[in-house]
């Protein structure tokens, strides 16, 4: 019986093994070889990564970039989800459409649109200069904050949708009970709504984080050649330097680093849900 039910998952499992697990092992194998032709076992590529400060700083920069973009995404995304959860159905669909729209356009088109907005002669700078907010045009393009802003916008649906689905499930009586007990909107949000939406928030963080650190196109086009993050670094090592074993090694390191952050977030989620487990 149990076997029969599990067998329904077999096609997916096969797909996973062939196209995900197997390549992963190939990658691991390549990262432990001296080069592509002589398959001698070696840790040299891993040692090289951790003894070179340059590699090391790219990794931390990338992980921090993910955290910054995720934080910005959360700060703007949570209110959107909160408003959408309380909005009337008509307004809710409009808000949702506005949030989802970015996923429905091509990454490249979307990113070039941002270049137009963020550039020295871009829309944003024309507004800033026009309003007299700054003498000099702001440097946004090819800076980390430019990348953070664009990533936050592009990955917004991954943050908003999980939070919205959790907020919609919270019993509206709880907010009413809080208000009747004398709590204002802010206390209700801080003490009741936000804690109860933690599972959605963590899900949003994990999705957004994983998407931000691996966003090759956005990072490269908005960041430019001088800002190197892990995806570009891997690409340069593999295609540019033709050093496939080293590229494989840093891929594995990057993957484990991201998994550690995700595991940390999951731990946080489990901790915050103690009341539901007892």
């Amino acid at each position: 019986m149990e076997w029969r039910r599990l067998s329904l998952a077999l096609p997916l499992a096969a797909l996973f093994v062939v196209f995900f697990i197997a390549p992963l092992f190939v990658l691991l194998g390549v990262s432990l070889s001296t080069d592509m032709d002589t398959h001698t076992f070696t840790f040299a590529h891993y040692v090289k990564f951790f003894t070179d400060r340059f590699n090391y700083s790219i990794l931390t920069d990338t992980l921090l970039l993910g955290l910054k973009a995720t934080a910005v995404c959360f700060v703007f995304g949570y209110p959107v989800a909160w408003i959408a959860a309380r909005a009337r159905p008509g307004l809710q669909s409009i808000l949702l459409l506005a949030v989802i729209l970015p996923i429905m356009t091509s990454v490249v088109v979307r990113t070039f649109a941002w270049i137009v907005i963020l550039g020295r002669q871009g829309l944003l700078n024309q507004i800033v200069l026009g309003l007299g907010l700054s003498e000099e045009p702001l440097r946004l393009l090819f800076t980390e904050w430019g990348v953070v802003i664009v990533l936050a916008q592009v990955q917004m649906p991954l943050m908003v949708l999980p939070i919205l689905s959790i907020l919609a499930k919270i019993d509206p009586n709880l907010a009413d009970a809080s208000r009747a007990l004398g709590a204002g909107e802010w206390r209700t949000l801080w003490r009741v709504t936000l804690p109860l939406s933690v599972p959605g928030v963590i899900a949003g963080w994990i999705l957004t984080y994983a998407a931000c650190v691996t966003a090759f196109v956005t990072q490269s086009l908005i960041g430019g050649a001088r800002l190197v993050y892990m995806p570009l670094h891997i690409y340069q090592q593999a295609v540019g330097a033709n050093n496939w074993p080293f590229a494989a090694a840093i891929s594995i390191i990057f993957m484990i680093a991201v998994l550690c952050v995700v595991a940390g977030l999951n731990l946080l989620a489990a901790k915050s849900q103690r009341h539901a487990q007892a």
């Binding site: 019993d171 009586n173 709880l174 009413d176 009970a177 809080s178 208000r179 009747a180 007990l181 004398g182 709590a183 204002g184 206390r187 003490r191 009741v192 804690p195 109860l196 009341h275 539901a276 007892a278």
Partner: protein, 362 residues
């Protein structure tokens, strides 16, 4: 215990949602310490009225006053109402203690005054041993006790109960009704309860306000609602009834005569405001139907269709000669009748036969 009652006045309150009128020109004065039940079928506007008193909804028209002062400009958080929801709405991520302390923190009680107050409230509802539990580790009755403690801790002016017992099973419901009534008496707190359960309304409230389609049908003490219903709706909604159609022959302030479909003349209570000759319905509760063997002037002939023993009483379903169905309830000690047995029906007292104008069913 000193009386903590506050007067609540509802002055011609109406509530429209788009083109739907949920509450229509309702006026109701609730005395300090009084327990009023809003009774009606679902969709009659009783919950909307409760939410207007709580301040969750701002009414389209009319005023709500606490102790003679309008509170319409006040948000729910500033009105000082306590509300217990059907699902209790305890905060699932907080312990029982944190739940009870929540309102005190929100109302800026001194930190060292909160803990003793929380303990005292938990003791009052016999939940002291459960302070560190989370709501989902409690039974329905325990959750309700915590909800009451949380709500009464802040000393609200008015206690609002929104179908508070609907989620409890029958035995527990009775215990909690007694418990809530005890707390309400102890505190002398003005209470408004919304319910669709007539027994609950009749047994707990000092006065029952029956609502239908957004309007108040009748506001009266429970026994008056039962014995002297002001409208056909109240008569039908509260308690079980037989509807007997007929034509009004004569009426004065002492009583009336109604000719029924099969030609029998029935004596009934006074039919105020109805002209002779109009179609009427006589409403008679099952326990006011008397079963006799002998045919007398006013008795109708019938035949027992089914017999339902209810414990101390027996319910009969009787088919009259003109095909109408009449329910009767008799004490079991009298004479147990069998299905198929012919019987004659009459009313115990004509004062119990209420006459209303017939509603034209379209």
């Amino acid at each position: 215990m000193t009386s903590r009652g506050h007067r609540v006045d509802i002055e011609s309150v109406s509530q429209r949602f788009a083109d739907y009128v949920a509450v229509s020109d309702v006026s109701l004065s609730i005395g300090d310490g009084e327990f009023v039940a809003l009774l009606g079928p679902s969709g009659c506007g009783k919950s909307t009225l409760l939410r207007i008193i709580a301040g969750f909804i701002h009414q389209t028209q009319g005023r709500v006053l606490f102790d003679g002062e309008a509170v319409d400009h006040l948000q729910a958080s500033q009105r000082g109402v306590g509300i217990v929801f059907q699902n209790y709405a305890l905060f699932p991520h907080m312990t029982v203690r944190q739940n009870v302390a929540y309102g005190l923190q929100a109302r800026k009680w001194a930190r060292d005054a909160i803990a003793p107050r929380v303990e005292a409230m938990l003791a009052r509802v016999h939940m002291s041993a459960f302070g560190e539990r989370y709501p989902r580790q409690l039974s329905g009755g325990q959750q309700q006790r915590v909800a009451l403690a949380r709500c009464l801790a802040t000393e609200p002016k008015v206690l609002l109960l929104d179908e508070p017992f609907a989620a409890l099973d029958k035995n527990l419901r009775f215990d909690m009704q007694i418990e809530v009534k005890r707390l309400q008496r102890d505190y002398g707190i003005t209470t408004v309860m919304v319910t669709h359960d007539q027994e609950e309304a009749l047994s707990m409230a000092d006065r029952v306000a029956v609502m239908s389609r957004g309007r108040l049908e009748q506001v009266a003490p429970p026994m008056d609602i039962y014995d002297h219903p002001a409208s056909l709706f109240v008569n039908q909604f509260v308690g079980s009834t037989n509807l007997i159609e007929g034509e009004l022959l004569a009426s004065d302030s002492w009583g009336s005569k109604v000719r029924l479909g099969d030609g029998t003349i029935m004596s009934a209570a006074s039919a105020k405001g109805l002209a002779n000759g109009v179609r009427v319905v006589v409403v008679l509760r099952p326990e006011h139907v008397a079963l006799v063997d002998e045919s007398s002037g006013e008795a109708r002939a019938g035949r027992i269709k089914s017999v339902l023993p209810l414990g101390a009483q027996v319910a009969y379903d009787i088919e009259t000669s003109d095909g109408a169905s009449i329910k009767a309830i008799a004490a079991r000690g009298v004479q147990l009748r069998r299905p198929g047995e012919p019987v004659h029906l009459t009313s115990i007292s004509s004062a119990n036969c209420h006459v209303f104008a017939a509603v034209h069913s379209s």
